[in-house]
Symmetry: none
DNA sequence: TCCTGCTGTAAAAGAGTTGTGAACGACGCT
DNA sequence: AGCGTCGTTCACAACTCTTTTACAGCAGGA
């Protein structure tokens, strides 16, 4: 069972679905429980990178390369800061769901799960 | 009959399997009975080193060199401590299986076996 | 049996990592 | 210019991981 579904939605229009979250790559929009979620460019890009690799642990370095481009400077915290921002927006729109897991010393993993009892 | 299977799983994706244990080197994840097992960086590295040498007795010195890097300091107990931690996590996730055998005076050996009657 | 050396492991100590609010500059808009 | 937004950086608290230490239990040998 995969945690997120990805399917083509017409020519070039890909949509990632994970619980109440829907990421429309082509339209650069995100739906949370059907309502639109406003993300900045960086936030959206980060979410797209993570959500398209469900259940995969992605290193900070790889995330940085994919979103910011190039080699991550030592001691750079950009990835962490944006993961934090993203988590807050997701949690604000979709309570009782967790999306991004931290893998200490390595990176993050997009692993959607309901926190409902 | 080999104790652990190792096979390529697509380009660059290697997976070690030993009973209900699955070590996904590329994804840096471990599945125990299908469920994800959370390991720290050191624990994962140690497991990867041992599991990729099934039925081979590996000396402490070699383990240290492969996981910690460099020459093992005299009287260092790091390897023992981490083998202990790893055993506990494995046993907690996969009861009735034994994975790491001690070879007194020498080192350890990854030798998965079911303890079921 | 009494040493001695080795292993298992809990716990303390030390080192490193992550979450996050706040400050700051750049940019665009009115 | 004044304002709001965005991205980056910094600082600090809180937390997790790693290493070290200490001790108990074993096994083997004299």
């Amino acid at each position: 069972m995969e945690a997120a579904n990805s399917h083509l939605n017409g020519p070039g229009g890909e949509v990632l679905t994970a619980g109440p979250l829907e990421v429309r790559l082509d339209q650069r929009t995100v739906l949370a429980d059907g309502r639109g979620l406003v993300l900045t460019v960086r936030e959206f890009h980060l979410l797209a990178v993570l959500a398209s690799r469900p259940e995969r642990v992605v290193s900070r370095e790889e995330i940085y390369d994919l979103v910011w481009g190039g080699k991550m400077p030592v001691h750079d915290r950009s990835v962490d800061v944006y993961v934090s921002k993203l988590r807050h927006k997701l949690e604000a729109s979709i309570p009782h769901w967790s999306y991004i897991q931290t893998h200490i010393g390595f990176g993050y993993c997009f692993s959607p799960r309901s926190l409902a009892a």
